[in-house]
Symmetry: C2
Subunit: 159 residues, 2 copies
DNA sequence: TGCTTGTTGAGACTGAGTCTCAAGTAGAAA
DNA sequence: TTTCTACTTGAGACTCAGTCTCAACAAGCA
């Protein structure tokens, strides 16, 4: 809820109108850690079926432009979105077997990125750094047992 | 041409049949540094219009399974493929303005990745590390001049 | 030669995302 | 309030990349 209100204020300062539909989309988005666009569509429409798919996509794009939402192209499954507003920068480690996503920070890598771009005369704008592997459980489990990239993590349930 | 023959031999040891269609797809693929699936379809069909789209995709998947081709999801534009067979591991730096792609190696980052996964008890299988920024030219150029993510780099022209 | 299996072309199909447009709001002005 | 304008929306058609199906077609083999 706190995140929701912070974002609400940010949008106001940017002159972006927070309609009822947008508020619902945002409220559901901040409830997730990572989510796909279609998951969010489904989730939102379960609460209010009159909200059109296009509206969810438009709002997602809006929030992205406003710097509230980031898009992650994980190699397995469809792209993932994340409300990164008011969250420290982090990169991701994913279990290719069960789909668990871990967020990590590694300042030494971030520093080396600057060194790399300097080598080529580039100005660094952004980066993605994703590690893929097997979590401890999946290293030992029967590979036929675990489902591939299932459910996403829901942080809290907002009514 | 050398790469083509090396790959040809690798496929033979894996018992994968190199049909005329597959050979054409492969021959065109090794001519590129990075390419999209649809670009390769177009390219191949310009030489032999009887080759079906499905065949190009199937061959790409085949080469991927054989460890010959890698897929890169750059954030801008459609996914890119690369024949990485007999090439040293590298990561990528992309200019978001003109689309230039630079390959770089940074062993210290590779080492730190191992440290990260160890922290979480993971076994590292693979990773992607992409830096996005502005090349020297685009930092100074009028932003309206340069086209966005254009042409891909062709390494050699194979008849 | 026939048998078996793998491969292909053609085209239907899918899923994710975009676009269009008429109808519906929210403010701002009067 | 009413009116004007600009923004937003729902509905659904559309696009594009990629996948699937299947009948026809080769390769390799006995
Ligand atoms: Zn980072
Ligand atoms: Zn995250
Ligand atoms: Zn690397
Ligand atoms: Zn490369």
């Amino acid at each position: 809820m706190k995140r929701f209100i912070e974002v609400e204020q940010l949008l106001k300062t940017q002159g972006i109108r927070l309609t009822a539909q947008r508020a619902l989309v945002l409220r559901r988005a901040v409830a997730y850690l990572h989510f796909t666009a279609e998951e969010l569509v489904k989730d939102v429409r379960e609460i209010d079926a009159s909200v059109a798919r296009g509206t969810v996509y438009r709002t997602l794009a809006l929030l992205h432009r406003a710097g509230v939402v980031e898009k992650h192209d994980f190699r397995y499954g469809p792209p993932n979105y994340e409300v990164t507003f008011a969250k420290a920068h982090h990169d991701h480690l994913m279990c290719v077997q069960c789909g668990e996503i871990i967020e990590f920070q590694e300042p030494r890598v971030e520093a080396l990125q600057q060194a790399v771009v300097k080598r080529f005369g580039y100005q660094l704008l952004s980066h993605t750094h994703k590690l893929y592997g097997l979590c401890r459980a999946c290293q030992h489990a029967d590979p036929r047992r675990a489902p591939k990239h299932p459910h996403l993590h829901v942080e809290e349930v907002v009514a």
